[in-house]
């Protein structure tokens, strides 16, 4: 038993290490990819000085951020100020814990689930964490003792509340179809047809809400450079700023993974190994988000709110009813 437990621990630690490493590496190169891809959308070159094609740029950036002075503004709430970026980064990473990256692996007769924690309430776990993540933004903005940061934080919180609902509601049909809140189960439920086919409206609402959750253009009002400096992280420098950065890009990966899990059949795919399929799907979603960033302008605040409350939530509710009716009928 003890051996079992030990073995389980070892497997868990290995999985944790792999996932964490992949996420961080992914975040770093997602930044690179975003800059590169965005640059091409804008007929530019993008980073190309650090290493071939600027491939060492993430490392240079990391070194820069690690070595930069860590400033805490006068009058800031030091503890909260220091805590906020950690909250953002950690919650984003934690969300990946329930994402199945592959079917269970059978090794030496043991079945090892390719998920860190196959919670039966995985979906709720994700919602919980993503709600927690906004604390980082709101607290960071408040603790900075800066008008810009505070405004950014408030906007972040308001935006989060507005889109949380739509996000959750958009996934209700998925749960209804899968009959489970476990992500593994949801993936399993898409064995035949990915839910994107069954639930295109849900998919659309989910993707839009997810982008708003991750505060990306066109929903980047908490940052809104030309209005608020840099919004909630105006006062952050060095690695604390880096943590916000990592949080954001991990969040993108998580969202990509969740999109894959909920609508694109998770790790499922022909020919290639399941993990690769998942990664490809994540990359696909990320690229779509970058493309959107490169194309759309930022919404006005009232437009943002109107979209959330007047369009997405009603649409999601209607979608739930429709799905329910369809399920009953079929």
């Amino acid at each position: 038993m003890v051996l079992d437990w030990l073995l389980g621990m070892i497997v868990l630690l290995v999985k944790l290490g792999l996932i964490l490493g992949a996420l961080l590496f992914g975040a770093a190169y997602l930044v690179w990819a975003e800059r590169k891809f965005l640059a091409r959308l804008q007929i530019r070159l993008g980073p190309n000085r650090a290493g071939k094609f600027g491939l060492l740029q993430p490392i240079a950036d990391a070194m820069k951020m690690l070595t930069k002075e860590d400033l805490v503004p006068d009058g800031a709430d030091t503890f909260v100020f220091k805590l906020a970026p950690v909250v953002v980064a950690v919650t984003a990473m934690l969300m990946f814990a329930v994402v199945p990256v592959a079917p269970d692996l059978v090794l030496f007769g043991r079945s090892i689930p390719m998920v860190i924690a196959d919670l039966n309430v995985g979906l709720l776990f994700i919602f919980a964490l993503s709600s927690l993540g906004v604390y980082g933004v709101a607290l960071g903005g408040w603790a900075s003792n800066s008008k810009f940061a505070l405004l950014g934080g408030i906007r972040g919180a308001a935006q989060m509340i507005s889109y949380e609902l739509a996000l959750g509601l958009s996934l209700v049909p998925v749960v209804m179809l899968a009959g489970s809140m476990s992500l593994t189960e949801i993936v399993a439920a898409q064995e035949r047809v990915p839910f994107i086919i069954l639930q295109p409206i849900s998919f659309a609402i989910f993707v839009i809400s997810a982008m708003a959750e991750s505060k990306r253009i066109p929903f980047d009002l908490p940052e809104a450079e030309n209005e608020l400096g840099a919004g909630f992280h105006t006062e952050y420098s060095g690695m604390r700023f880096g943590l916000f950065f990592i949080g954001e890009y991990v969040h993108i990966q998580v969202l990509g993974a969740l999109t894959a899990v909920f609508f694109l059949g998770g790790w499922r795919g022909p020919l290639l190994p399941p993990v690769i399929w998942l990664v490809l799907k994540i990359i696909f979603v990320a690229l779509i988000m970058i493309w959107i960033r490169g194309t759309l302008p930022r919404l006005r605040y009232d437009q943002l709110m109107a979209l959330g409350w007047k369009v997405l939530i009603p649409a999601a509710l209607v979608n739930i009813v429709l799905t329910g009716v369809l399920i009953l009928l079929v």
Binding site: R40, L41, Q42, I43, R44, L45, W291, G294, T295, L296
Partner: protein
């Protein structure tokens, strides 16, 4: 005929145009298509240290002090550039130079402060101070950015090849007495017998 009171207040803005769903979708698609098309184009970026572009003559970068067509310093140290400089990066001291010319004893521009706005060039009444397209003059030591007159002086006329302030000024300087400037009559002789 009664008038609509709202009209009396003046012209109100037209109501915002309603956008139909189709139009919105079309606009979205066009946008995405545009960016997508860009993806295939060759980047227009120029690689700075390897590729250096010749800047237009009117670009505003490093400041010089030019000379007049006769080769003398144009700057008369009138303090107008230092007065107009929004960041106070110009300072100087004027003295009486050779032949009664007013000139700068020293003239200093702190390029650490300069924002290359070009107001000094606009204010200069003698075309002495000019901004050039030469933008490569970064310094590692901050004090090296403080340029003195000898660093600023060049031996050409810059953008204005003809102007010579002292040929118009009407003040007597060595070699150019009163009445010999451009568009000037010979000095009045108050003792003249002419009526």
């Amino acid at each position: 005929m009664t008038q609509d009171p709202s009209q009396l207040k003046g012209k109100s803005l037209p109501p915002p145009r309603e956008t139909s769903g189709a139009e919105a979708l079309k606009a979205l698609v066009t946008g995405f298509a545009t960016t997508l098309k860009h993806l295939g184009r060759r980047p227009i970026t120029e690689q700075y240290p390897e590729e250096k572009r010749e800047l237009p003559a009117r670009s505003r970068a490093r400041i010089i002090l030019t000379r007049d067509p006769d080769g003398a310093e144009r700057c008369v140290a009138c303090y107008l550039c230092s007065a107009v400089c929004p960041v106070s990066c110009i300072s100087m001291q004027s003295i009486e130079g050779q032949g009664g010319r007013r000139m700068a004893a020293w003239f200093r521009i702190n390029f650490g402060r300069c924002i290359y706005c070009g107001l000094c060039e606009e204010a200069c009444p003698t075309s002495a101070i000019q901004l050039t397209p030469d933008y490569e003059h970064c310094q590692r030591a901050i004090l090296k950015s403080v340029y003195e007159k000898e660093d600023l002086l060049v031996d050409h006329c810059g953008k204005d090849p003809d102007y010579n302030f002292y040929r118009h000024a009407g003040v007597a300087t060595e070699g150019l007495d009163k009445g010999r400037h451009e568009k000037e009559a010979p000095p009045v002789n108050v003792r003249s017998n002419m009526p």
